[in-house]
Symmetry: C2
Subunit: 272 residues, 2 copies
């Protein structure tokens, strides 16, 4: 069975997409073609969206699913005439919220980002540049400013996680790769010792690590099962020895790794 | 008026937060204390959540607002007893979806990320490393692999936007800073010329640019109004001359910049 799902928004479409992905993932037996229609904020763009939705209905022989975060009432009225199941976030939640809060909502378009004001932008930008400057152990002298220092073997997901922590939560996340040299004597590198309380470990299953590394350097010692096995074992021993909190990132998305780190460390985000 | 808002989830909480931020932003007159409670996936954690919500109700003298994406029915039943307005995403949308699709949903916890599987993880990881390697004009020899090359003056948001495009959409985004040397003769740098079709410009208002640069190097020529004015004017002239598409990023969040770039270029994301 195939269906088309539309994520419709007067803004970026991120809220509609996030909501939609979440709901659709509950129907693993259905294949959805997913189309995001952002910036639907005029009569014309709404009419275009309706046309695309109706075309999909025709083509699929079944009603598309439309996740909508449109705010404007006229545009929602135009949309309501299309041949689809419309899941309208504002219709469902805004009424109860207005009643509870005892005020009318602004019905303003494109308000969804709390991260649009200048101060928030600055925090984010600084955090991103901190993550870049302190990626992969490139520099260690600014670790006193770090909120967290991720450690793990090469290709265990430290870099994307650091960047996600910076972009999403405004956190100052450094990362430092542990290598064979560090495993020889099972000691933390000198640069990390003064910041032991900020260290957080990422572990990964040996097979998965070897697979990831093989995509980069197939057939190399670096990507061999034996080498990956040695590194992951030594890493766990090191974490145990120094009592460093860690999570196994093997089956987790970057979002999951990041939010689990927050939950486990109690680290407060700098951005809401 | 102050209220506490909870974003409650059995997973990362990202869907509940995104939805919640979107809805709450419609009530600009109300101050919300926002608390995310992720990984609520047992009787115990649900009971803890209920306790925290009830404490907030007591403290505020008003019912908290709870955005919930809990899937498990028993946990939702426990949650329903707390003193709050509960906006339950699954209760509202799952029924109509099941009816439309003619199948029961899996009611499985933590399914929200389409980006959790290994192939998607690989795409994301490669895209992030591409963005890092090709940040700030560091290298230009891999531009044939780029999906897009962002250009603009220093501190106009190129780096965070490149990273967001990589993390969120899996796109290979390079960025290259244009400087005084490039403005002297209003010619594109040689490294960019063969890739003209991939160029996308970010512009920014002079005052805002000066403010951002001043946070970094207050009182410098680099941060002066005069310098920023010269650069932003020359940049626009360059974009006009070469017919390079661009957007003004001054009042936009990184999400907005990124999604507008997609909308304007028609670039297809590599990740859903």
């Amino acid at each position: 069975m195939k269906r088309t799902a539309f994520f419709l928004s007067d803004g970026t479409g991120i809220t509609a997409e996030t909501l939609g992905h979440s709901m659709l993932s509950q129907f693993s037996g259905v294949v959805f073609e997913q189309i995001t229609l952002p910036f639907v904020n005029s009569h014309e763009t709404t009419a275009e969206a309706v046309a695309r939705i109706n075309e999909a209905a025709e083509r699929d022989g079944a009603r598309p699913i439309v996740f909508s975060t449109l705010v404007n009432e006229e545009h929602r009225e135009i949309l309501s005439r299309c041949r689809a199941l419309i899941l309208d976030m504002f219709a469902v939640f805004l009424g109860p919220l207005e009643e509870e809060l005892g005020v009318r909502s602004s019905h303003k378009v494109g308000q969804s980002h709390s991260i649009r004001d200048h101060e928030a932008y600055r925090i984010r930008m600084e955090a991103v540049h901190f993550a870049l400057d302190n990626d992969d152990g490139a520099r260690t002298r600014h670790y006193d400013m770090a909120d967290i220092i991720l450690i793990g073997v090469s290709r265990s997901g430290k870099t994307p996680t650091s960047l996600y922590l910076a972009l999403q939560f405004g956190l100052y996340a450094a990362n430092y790769p542990l290598t064979e040299d560090d495993f020889d004597d099972l000691r933390l590198p000198k640069a990390l010792l003064p910041h032991k309380d900020k260290l957080f470990g990422l572990t990964i299953d040996t097979e998965r690590l070897a697979a990831i590394r093989s995509e980069r350097k197939a057939g190399s010692r670096y990507a061999s099962q034996r080498q990956c096995d040695m590194e992951t074992r030594a890493l766990e021993a090191l974490f145990n020895r120094y009592n460093i909190p860690s999570i196994n990132a093997t089956e987790l998305s970057i979002e999951e790794i990041s939010t689990r780190i927050l939950a486990k460390t109690g680290l407060q985000r700098r951005l809401q």
